[in-house]
Symmetry: C2
Subunit: 229 residues, 2 copies
DNA sequence: CGGGGTATTGAGACAAATCAACCTTGGTGG
DNA sequence: CCACCAAGGTTGATTTGTCTCAATACCCCG
């Protein structure tokens, strides 16, 4: 069977991970790739379990979280289509991943995937870049938690979701996660998150269509609050 | 010239990075390794500058920090002997590094180093593990900033330094960094840091020998406050 | 023995957590 | 179709924790 006989799924081309790869390389990746459907509420994997797979989100939304023994939780990130999960360098996952909205994932056995990364310089570059982005985004979050006030942290989240959610710069934001999830992401309580929403509304920056739908009225101010301080 | 003719410096053997490597491999690493002395207060490299080197701390202490345009600062980490700096996946450094106490470093040109990483599986495993540890430690800090009170965050730092600083479990901690550095690391102000010290003292957990020297009286409580919550 | 930078302590202002009540919404069964 | 219920979200009152501003203490160095 010639490699070009396997047509890689279309979504391959939309992912940074596969940018610049030749057809042969894509075909090999397609060969070790499986699809997985994950219903809302299900766990993809659990913290401390062996890191056996690497994932690319095709559709849906997931939440990356870390739990302490006492049950306190820190949400690390929300994963949207095109995002990567499990690009960890450790043998065990550092976090749990749970599905917020029915998701479809490309799954690659980690061992096989790393072998291909070794063989294809372009893939290696891409994978490195992704790993770097994960750290960069975590450092941004660290900055937000260390330096910002409640409503600024919320802007940080809204700006982030606005960027991630679909390509075009939309002013309409859908919040798939609960207030508790947002609170645990930003290091706040649900009440403070709620008040932060109210504050942004009275500041004229957002409009609250419903609890899970926000309309951004002034993107520049939002970005301003989200970033510099 | 046979490879064994180049004797790798002794410190090579003390670093996780070089664990399990053969003499030939060590010799090649020694070939691209240079020593660099960095005086107190000097910068090792600046945020956004191209990532040209990878470093291993041999002696001294350094501080990894990130600055926003408005001048606000987030301290990311403190680096002690045996720690690694610049194991970034991005082409530019995400942070600045400044020397807190006269340091000696092993420096490797990043390009050459990555080539050797590709050639030596053991080295690759080690490097991956180090990268993973960096992320894990950042996630711990994220958790601390998101979930903990001032005196708990301070315990987090003290426990961390206690672990890093020399091998044996010492109860004597030297704080090389200033109160401002600690504050910017923990996302607090210097006054709150000072009060947190006072609180831990009245709780009977530490003894304050001087501003930069702490004696740990109850390590178990310290660790407890540092971790679980 | 000053003197300047650094750290501590105190008082008041402010932000966020906590506790409690109320409101919204979406689903269910009468 | 509507009343009811439960879960999630909002709002209010109070407490707690941290920041801010100001004064004072400490210590290292000349």
């Amino acid at each position: 069977m010639v490699s070009s006989a396997i047509k890689p799924p279309e979504t391959f081309f939309h992912s940074k991970l596969f940018r610049g790869l030749g057809n042969d390389e894509l075909a090999l990746l397609a060969g070790i790739c499986q699809r997985r459907r994950l219903p809302t509420g299900e766990q993809l994997f659990r913290q401390y379990s062996p890191a056996q797979h690497v994932y690319v989100v095709v559709s849906g939304t997931l939440m990356i979280e870390r739990l302490s023994r006492s049950g306190r939780r820190q949400v690390i990130a929300f994963a949207y289509p095109g995002d990567y999960i499990g690009f960890t360098n450790t043998d065990d996952y550092e976090y749990s991943v749970v599905c917020l909205r029915e998701a479809e994932l490309q799954t690659f056995p980690r061992r096989d995937f790393l072998q291909l990364v070794d063989r294809f310089p372009t893939l290696k570059t891409n994978a490195r870049q992704i790993g770097g982005n994960v750290l960069a985004q975590t450092l941004d979050q660290l900055f937000a938690l260390g330096q910002k006030k409640a409503h600024e942290r919320l802007c940080f989240l809204l700006a982030q979701i606005g960027r991630r959610q679909c390509g075009t710069q939309t002013t309409d934001i859908e919040l798939i996660m609960s207030r508790q999830d947002i609170a645990d992401y930003l290091g706040l309580t649900i009440e403070t998150v709620s008040r932060a929403f109210a504050r942004l509304k009275t500041m004229g920056i957002i409009e609250i269509i419903s609890a899970h739908r926000i309309h951004v009225l002034d993107r520049s101010v939002l970005e301003e609050l989200a970033s510099v301080h």
